[in-house]
């Protein structure tokens, strides 16, 4: 217990770094995943092929390899993911703007990887919407994107909440890999710091680290349950 209370500050800062990573990566993955899903169900064959290729390649690659590719591959070709130095956002998430690129790389890796799963969760939801709904939308003269935005996705959302939640929870746990790929001071890397450098006993440290992840995932799970229940009523 002393290990936990005595290092509360270290755990808290690690938690905060991890929280930033998963928040940014979740937004990124949802946006990119929606785009890929739109491609996979688009009426244009080349877009469909591109979307399918993305999912096939990324979903079937181990996350560790994706991290390797970003953390070591991107610098090789002179990319430091500088496009993530988004003004205003980088004053809120200060690590976005630093010269050490690994925080940005972690977000890129998690976004790219998770987007494939977001795409498939969304697509499952879209397929659960009766085809007549989109036929009716098309008959009214809605364009493909209008039909998706106004008719299909709002209804797909209901069938998507739970699988999408599982994808995000998996991503939060996957974010532990970031510490192994150069992100200093995230929740998982904190354990290394406390056990190896300070010589603290491993079990209490890892209990503290696990608690940090549970603080992120358990409330998210509960929130999803509530959303699911509230939508079951309106159906």
């Amino acid at each position: 217990m002393d290990v936990l209370t005595g290092n509360a500050g270290v755990f808290a800062s690690g938690f905060f770094v991890t929280f930033q990573i998963v928040l940014l990566a979740a937004v990124g993955a949802l946006v990119l995943g929606t785009l890929v899903a739109a491609m996979r169900i688009s009426p244009l064959p080349p877009l469909r092929w591109l979307g399918t290729a993305y999912v096939t390649v990324v979903r079937n690659t181990p996350l560790t390899i994706v991290f390797f590719m970003t953390a070591f591959g991107l610098p090789e070709i002179g990319v430091d993911a500088g496009f993530l130095r988004i003004p205003l956002l980088d004053s809120l998430f200060t690590r976005l703007g630093t010269d050490v690129p690994y925080f940005r790389f972690a977000i890129v890796a998690l976004t790219v990887y998770t987007a494939a799963f977001v795409c498939e969760a969304l697509r499952a939801g879209v397929n659960a919407v009766q085809p007549g709904q989109s036929e009716a939308g098309r008959s009214l003269g809605l364009t493909f994107t209008q039909n998706l935005r106004l008719i299909v996705l709002p209804q797909a959302g209901r069938a998507t909440v739970v699988p999408l939640g599982s994808v995000i929870i998996a991503m939060i746990k996957n974010s532990a890999l970031a510490g192994a790929f150069g992100v200093a001071g995230d929740l998982f890397q904190t354990s290394d710091e406390l056990t190896s450098a300070q010589g603290l006993p491993a079990i209490p440290v890892f209990i503290g680290v696990a608690a940090g992840y549970l603080i992120l995932t358990v409330p998210l799970g509960l929130l999803l349950d509530r959303i699911e229940r509230s939508q079951a009523v309106t159906r």
Binding site: G132, A136, G141, F144
Partner: protein, 273 residues
Amino acid sequence: MAERAGEPPAAGAGAAAGAGAAADTEPAGAPLVVLRGVNKHFGDLHVLRDINLEIARGEVVVVIGPSGSGKSTLCRAINRLEPIEDGEITVDGEPLPEEGRALARLRADVGMVFQSFNLFAHKTILQNVTLGPVKVRKVPAAEARSEAMDLLERVGIASQAGKLPAQLSGGQQQRAAIARALAMRPKVMLFDEPTSALDPEMVQEVLDVMISLARDGMTMVVVTHEMGFARRAANRVVFMADGQIVEQAAPESFFTAPSSDRAKDFLSKILTH
């Protein structure tokens, strides 16, 4: 069902509330919908064989035939819900575009009513009717709402405007679907077996709306098994079998003296019971 002939057709046209008033003022002119040499396969099945059909402005064409004859596919091909492989379809002189915005624009002018209603399940009846005008025609919301309420009044379900589709009976849902299509002020309305999914006691309320539309001069293509409707409201009956148009004639002569054996056989099966 076949017994209700006698009423004067199209006599009370002025009585019903008028929306498609412009349609019946220009009688002949170019046909509104033209299908020329249309072919389509589903795998090995040749569902549309060399279809040629012209539909004039204000004309009501009823398409009948045994199931699997291609009549629904024909109806759905007219707004390209079913793409065709071969041949040409034009609506108001314009060939159907392949995909994209041009196709969406053309579809806005072609109303479609489905067998299974297909009202947007997550929107209220009123929202179902205003969605097209607001999002496609860019009609201001307040104007769209008041026009939608007029249409719902006309089909007799104004009191249900705030409800979700699932809360309505099948007949009410189908009337709402007709109002939704009418809200786009279409040039032509397609009905794909509009009463086939309804409980028997709700069929007539939907047919009544369609009959009043026909009398107002709306151009209509109706795939149906309702021979009573065909007799009362149609200008022409098109009989399809095995993906072909076998015979077409005015309803009276088709029902009393069909010329093809296929039609005689079909009519004997449905009119005897």
